[in-house]
Amino acid sequence: MLAVAGVTRVAKRFFTRMSWTMTFAVVALLVIGVFFVYSACYVSEESPVRLLYKKQMVWGFAGFLCYWALAVTDYRHLRKLSWTFYAASIVLLILVLFVGTTIYGAKRWLMFLGIGVQPSEIAKFAVVFVLARKLSRPGLNLAEPRALLEVAGIALVPLCLILLEPDFGTALVFVPMTLAMMYAAGMPARILGIIFLIGAVLLGVLMAAMFVPPALGVTREEHGDILKWIGLRTYHYDRLAVFFDADLDPLAKGWNKRQSEIAVGSGGMFGKGYLKGTQNILGFLPRSVAPTDFIFSVIAEEKGFMGSLTVLGLFSVLMVSGVRTALSAPDKMGRLLCVGFLSLLFCHVFVNIAMTVGLMPITGLPLPLLSYGGSFMMVTMASLGIVQSVRIHAKQPKVAFQQRGLWGPAVGG
């Protein structure tokens, strides 16, 4: 009897307090994802590729279970586990450098029982957790260099390990995520300014290393050596160069960017119709990337501007509802968890779409909830589950935020 009453109480709390808006957006994006993974693969000559949508369904379902499970779990119970989790992910990141499966010259995958796992995805999740815990510790003064270094170190260790794989895109995501969490944790604005300044200088050096030597007529090999010295590879330069000049090598490295742009552009206002995206069907949009990194071009081509807008709209809904949760969070850690996961989500969405429409260089970041891929799906769903958990476990749901609304006057203001 007692157990039944307990379950009923948890269920009632769960159903009344969770953000249904967020759940709706998540489900909608998952469904869209399965449909368009099917569309991206149904013409493939290899039957495993044709059946990717089924795998995506399984992943989506598994992800959804994870989402619910984490939503009902009180996130505060996970606090103690965060460092263990972080340590485990670091071990995996080191492990992947030695026993990882090499795909396209990068060691990013660990094979567990036939399932590929990307330790970098797990690391993102762990870093958000540890940062949230660290930054929510009372008495932490982010104006102190020691505290700053500690916080930065938490992010930099996995970042550097990921750079070694190398996976430039994923590594870069750690930077805005960490900054966003620090900012939300109340880091003084001037410190942020200094960090931006340093960042700008570093970026300047990077760009100079990339583009000044070729302009001076240095050979490719020598340029490669210079890039290696600052931790880059020639293919980074190639991608970036192609971004700035798509005609440089239209049939090789510029191909994906060009074809993705054509796919999106030729979609027009209403698109060519579901399963009728010729860029994808005819293989101009390479089949290897269409269901993963370029799923947005498939959607944009087949459903046009309306489809693009729907996707952007659903992600906006996710962001807004996530921020509402952040604002209603019962404690600082909850809020920082929301901020961390939302900033991760935002970075992926923005960079992926911007790359698909030719606004950014090709970085290889997948589109959350839509792109095909297991690890990333699980991590995304888990992170959203935690955001949901923060909302469900808010002690006084009607206090802080709901009375004021999202943009209402602040308490005591």
Partner: protein, 608 residues
Amino acid sequence: MTSTNDLEAILANLHNDEAIRVRIMLCFALLAFTFLGGSIWRIQVLKASEYRSSETRQSIRRVRRPAPRGRMFDRNGVLLAGNRPSYSIAVFVEELRQPGRISNTVARIATYLDEVGTTIGKAREVTHDEIAIHIRKRRPLPLLAWKDIDEVTLARWSESPRNFRGMDIYVEPVRVYPGAPIAGHTIGYVGRRDWDETDTPYHYYLPDIKGRAGIERTLDDRLSGKAGGRLVRVDASGFKYDEQVEIDPVPGEDVMLTIDVRIQRVVEDVLLGERGACVVMSPRNGDVLAIASAPAFDTTVLKNAARYKAAMQDAGRPMFNRAISGAYPPGSTFKPVVAIAALEAGLATAETMIDCPGYYAVGEARFNCWRTIGHGPLDMRRSLEQSCNTYFIDLGVQIGYERIFHMASALGFGRRTGLGLRGEVSGLMPDDAWKRKKYRDGWRKGDTCNASIGQGFVLASPLQMAVFVSTLANGGNVMRPRLFAEAGETAGEIVNKMNWDPDTLDVVRGGMLDVIHATTGTGRLAKIKHVRMAGKTGSAEYGPRSKRKKYAWMIVFAPVERPRYAIALVIENALSGGRTAAPRVQRIMERIFDIEQGIDVDLAEGGA
């Protein structure tokens, strides 16, 4: 108390500050999404057509499809030129493509074709290079591995238990001439059409056929129809993905010729083994019922380089259409022109008598009559029957060359008839100006003497002679000979109305009737039972005099009462018109009237 309150206030403020920071970040994120939305709007809406055209450019290929060529029938609906499906075994390269380099696909196709070849019992006909060229240049199109296969191969292919992946039978129309070599010169032949510069929007040009000679050439516009187009969608590797019809080809028009294959066959039979030509016309409307040149031209030689070369080097010149391109001195067949000119000018009558001593003297020179012992005194009708040279030379000199020239010109001599076949010659009706230009010498009396008997400079094609005899047959209408009737045109086109005096015609026709029906007539060997005919023989000398080579002529029309057929026939290197041409005309006329009577010639029967 106060301190706790302060602390709470500070905490609240802090909280507040952090809430603002979160909101700021949300604003930033939404702004970024808005920026993305704007960029997508620019690409998908503002520049959509630009991207769409680059999409089309890279994935759509236009392929030109030739239209089926129109057929050709004789006047009774017998097929003269048609299309036969030619079966080829085609490889659809996209289905056999191999990953990696193109050479892998080439090698795969080659070995595959070897395998298929053993099954169907034919060696591979395309080389590695040809496969590679095809893949490089015409990737989305089928590669024809065995062209125009025979029935046995086709049967082996279709009955083979093997399933040939990526291969299929490809049907293409091929021009066929079921009756060949019947009327080969007239029908002509076709060849591949050259690249048409105006057709550039097509990526792939499947060349269609173009008439190169004969009616195939003359009526090419009508026969060839309008080519259609297909849009082939290609994938990123350039192989065919699917295709759709863009414009359906418009088939060429069928054409009905005036030729009667039965008469044509008779005429060709008669000319067999000779060098010469014959034209059978309807004097009523100018329809050419048969037109033949011997040796005959067999269009099938064009398919074989060795035979083509042999045909080109043959002394008999089988490619040369003597009926329209051969310019012969008309000889005595020209005499009716002189007679008419004299009668119409009122300078002579039927009773005009001239004595023939066997020659006509001009100063020192003598123009011999063929009957060297002379004909004695003759009137006009008898002079035609006897074809007396002296009579017509005398008459020609009396009336003057001017009148002969005008009459002949009005009758169409020296001018193309307008049959519509390429290579038609105008013949020659010489005059003073022409001679001055050509020989730097004025017109002399001797020239008039020669011209009066159709010798010397006068030249005419068998077709022109057919038009001339038609004019005599229909009572003075110079018809344009035709091989096909334009839409709605049944009566035929009259080029010139002569308005001859009925008496003139009576005299000339009477003389020509005697040529055949008088016991002494020069063309009596042409006589047939039941039908009365009128004609004129001619024997024109050519080449060195010592060789005594002659062109044997005969022009004839029948029946005299209501003429339906007009024939002009010439045989090279012959004895004389009366002995060489007349018996042949007889055979032709006999068969023509047999055909008319329903005593038919089997259409399927061969040339022999």
